[in-house]
């Protein structure tokens, strides 16, 4: 199929979910739930089908495809159009977003069926898909920015979906505001690009960047752009120091967590960095920053995950940690490995969240793992899929996570053994807390008998009428997506065997640095794949994952009273970890409180009331006082008027005489 016939299809992919969102948003209130589900699923599914159709007819020879929908901005030589673009990178993203997104839509039908705002939820979900697809398919940074901001908006709406609950509304706000901080960096990067390259179009910008040498000697323009883009990516993809919004975002319904915080939105930052790989490759300092931030985030978030008791919070920190891996990969120049991990992560983390939703659904809205346990008996399907997802994220071969994580660690080792070591430690912790979650949730005896009507802190999360005597398996509309994602989690990693994935993405992500010193990028520096060293490192990471599993088994299955003793003996350290290192409190003291205080005293009382309001009010008061005095001139006394007339005439005549004399 020729590019000419395929390209116009590109614009239909985002438009389908938008239409679904519009129909459900405008007419959903009066429609039946069946109709709402049909609309939401049909439009989302159509987008997926088109994506599959395009993928089936995709040929690397004629890529990239592009399609211009309409003109947008024209200002002198600078122009931005609504243009869509498809190359190998966006194709991968497209399939992940539409595929996993569609499965989550199906799941949501079961999960949210009894919620009052069902139509609203489905409409937001479709809207989210629209923005995410716009982001992925954009041909220039500005259209990408529409999607970028749009997913921010949609995530705000979805996280704060139960907006009557204070914590949910606050979490939505937090996500939105923290994202704005990142967007600030992104915007400035865009301004720099416009100023120096006169365009936002990927093709033009990257062509212009390619002709420049790498900034190996010192930091320059490209480093600045790279760092600012990284600020944006850190906000969207929840990296240090802007990761704080993601754990709070678990206030949203569980399908939202799966959609936003596993499969799509948080990956936008990784996608953007990979898309801008041309810029990053010429800014080694920015690359180093990306790698360091990614590595630290991976380790830091993983340690927090150990001590969480809320099942979704564990997964949230695990998401942050896995995103750290992706940035580590990008930072060492292994962009394709980062995208590979993005894809496998979308499978197994989407699955993990959906399983968590199934668990929460099954036991009546409880999220505290201490009140779970023994669920393997009640929910066999959920247990099986959860097991697969856990094996996948822990990096046990041959599950999907193993391939991608190992790829990243291998590439990281090529850059520096420090990254590798921290990555392996993170892998160990990941394996530990994931199996901890498994044993606490599915192992042992059911500890939540007392949850009858005293539902935990998430009373909204179920809403169905039937009583919760004991845990029950979820309906098939929810289990179907679980099974499909589980299959993907098992087999999804095989696309990367023999570097096939990397070769597929090579036309987009191949390093093309001119005039860079040899060994500057790890691609060139790393030894041949398949060497003994690679297998050795692989063995280390697998055994480390096994060790984490064993430790979790020991602590949470064999000797369940031991963790409490260890926690008690660790004292302050444990408390710090359980309280997420007090980062939220630190930010509150460092940024939020000074900001609120400053805004209150200086901006509100000082500037707003003291200057702006005062100017308006005082001029009104002054006018009233002056008029109050002047109005006495209008006495109604004819002769006083005559006097004023005469005086005025005298003044005029006097002035004219005086002017005449001069």
């Amino acid at each position: 199929m020729t590019p000419q016939t395929l390209s116009p299809l590109l614009c239909t992919i985002p438009i389908f979910p938008l239409a679904g969102a519009a129909i459900n948003g405008f007419f959903g209130r009066r429609s039946s739930k069946k109709a709402i589900s049909a609309v939401a699923l049909a439009f989302c599914g159509l987008a997926f089908l088109v994506a599959v159709f395009i993928a089936a007819n995709f040929s690397s020879a004629s890529a990239p495809y592009s399609f211009s929908l309409a003109h947008w901005l024209r200002s002198g030589s600078f122009s931005v159009d609504f243009e869509f673009y498809l190359d190998q990178l966006s194709l991968v993203m497209l399939l992940v977003v539409t595929g996993v997104g569609f499965l989550i839509h199906v799941y949501s039908v079961g999960y949210m069926w009894d919620d009052d705002g069902y139509y609203r939820f489905m409409s937001y979900m479709n809207l989210f898909m629209f923005f995410m697809l716009t982001l992925v398919l954009a041909k220039n940074y500005l259209v990408m920015f529409i999607g970028w901001e749009g997913v921010g908006l949609a995530s705000y709406l979805l996280i704060g979906y139960w907006f009557t609950k204070d914590s949910a509304a606050a979490a939505g706000k937090k996500a939105f505001i923290v994202n704005r901080i990142g967007d600030f960096g992104f915007l400035i990067a865009l301004f720099l690009i416009i100023k120096h390259f006169g365009s936002l179009d990927f093709t033009h910008v990257f062509a212009a960047v390619q002709s420049q040498p790498a900034e190996t000697a010192g930091a320059g323009l490209l480093t600045a752009i790279g760092l600012l883009l990284m600020v944006g990516a850190a906000g969207k993809s929840a990296q240090i120091p802007l990761y704080v919004w993601l754990p709070d975002a678990m206030e949203g319904p569980t399908p939202v967590s799966a959609l936003i915080h596993a499969a799509t939105m948080v990956t936008a930052g990784v996608y953007m960095v990979a898309r801008s790989s041309t810029i990053f490759e010429r800014a080694p300092m920015a690359m180093t920053v990306v790698a360091i931030i990614g590595t630290l985030t991976a380790l830091f978030a993983a340690t927090i995950g150990i001590a969480q008791t809320d099942i979704k919070k564990v997964l949230a920190y695990s998401t942050v940690s896995q995103l750290g891996y992706m940035f580590m990969a990008c930072g060492v120049g292994a962009f394709s490995a980062g995208i590979f991990h993005l894809m496998t992560h979308a499978f197994f983390k989407g699955l993990l969240f959906l399983v968590a939703g199934s668990v929460i659904h099954g036991i009546g809205g409880e999220q505290d793992m201490r009140k779970m346990g023994g669920l393997r008996v009640y929910m066999p399907w959920t247990f099986a899929t959860m097991g697969i997802a856990t094996l996948a994220i822990a990096g046990i071969p041959p599950f999907a996570g193993f391939w991608s994580k190992d790829e990243i660690l291998w590439k990281a080792f090529g850059a520096s053994w420090v990254y590798w070591l921290l990555g392996v430690i993170t892998a160990f912790i990941t394996s530990f807390y994931m199996f901890r979650l498994m044993y606490m949730t599915f192992g042992g005896e059911y500890r939540g008998a007392a949850v009858q009507e005293a539902h935990g802190h998430d009373a909204h999360d179920h809403g169905h009428g039937h009583g919760h005597g004991e845990p029950h398996e979820s309906p098939w509309v929810m289990l179907g997506p679980l099974v499909i994602l589980a299959l993907l989690s098992v087999f999804g990693g095989f696309v990367g065997v023999g570097n096939r994935f990397e070769h597929f993405l090579a036309p987009v992500l191949q390093p093309r640095v001119l005039g860079a010193p040899p060994g500057f990028l790890v691609h060139e520096a790393s030894p041949e794949a398949g060497s003994t060293l690679e297998y050795l490192l692989m063995a280390v990471s697998v055994s480390v994952a096994g060790l984490g599993w064993f430790l979790a088994y020991l602590l949470y299955s064999r000797r369940p009273q031991l963790p409490a003793r260890i926690a008690a003996s660790l004292g302050g350290l444990y408390r710090a970890v359980a309280n997420k290192y007090y980062i939220d409190e630190l930010y509150a003291v460092l940024f939020v409180k000074p900001l609120i205080d400053g805004s209150t005293t200086i901006l509100w009382h000082g500037v707003d009331q003291g200057v702006i309001d005062a100017t308006v009010n005082n001029s009104a008061t002054a006018a009233r006082h002056v008029s109050d005095n002047v109005r006495h001139m209008q006495s109604g006394n004819l002769r006083s008027y005559a006097g004023w007339v005469a005086a005025g005439a005298a003044v005029v005549i006097g002035y004219m005489v005086w002017m005449g004399v001069r």
Partner: protein, 100 residues
């Protein structure tokens, strides 16, 4: 031949009398007459200049002023009668309803 300046001085005196009367008198009729006095003071200077410069336009002005003054007198007297009927006074200090 009476010099021009005499006429102008007389005209000024008449006008000043008119202004003074307008300002200090309380009776509306008197005020009205003071206005006529001012008009005629100006008329006098017009005709004096017309005679001095042998220009007929000055006299044309005077006719205009007279016509307008006649019209004004008609309207003004009608207003005065109306005021007297409603207020039963011709003292302007007591006709001071138009105020804040």
């Amino acid at each position: 031949m009476v010099p021009l300046s005499y006429y102008l001085v007389l005209s000024g005196i008449l006008f000043a009398c008119g202004v003074l009367g307008f300002l200090i008198k309380r009776n509306i009729i008197t005020i009205f007459m003071s206005i006529e006095l001012m008009l005629n003071g100006v008329n006098l200077s017009f005709v004096a200049f017309a005679a001095h410069w042998h220009a007929v336009s000055g006299q044309v002005f005077v006719f205009f002023v007279m016509v307008v003054a006649a019209a004004e007198a008609a309207v003004g007297l009608a207003i005065i009668i109306a005021v007297y009927r409603t207020r039963e006074t011709l003292n302007v200090d007591q006709v001071n309803l138009l105020k804040l």
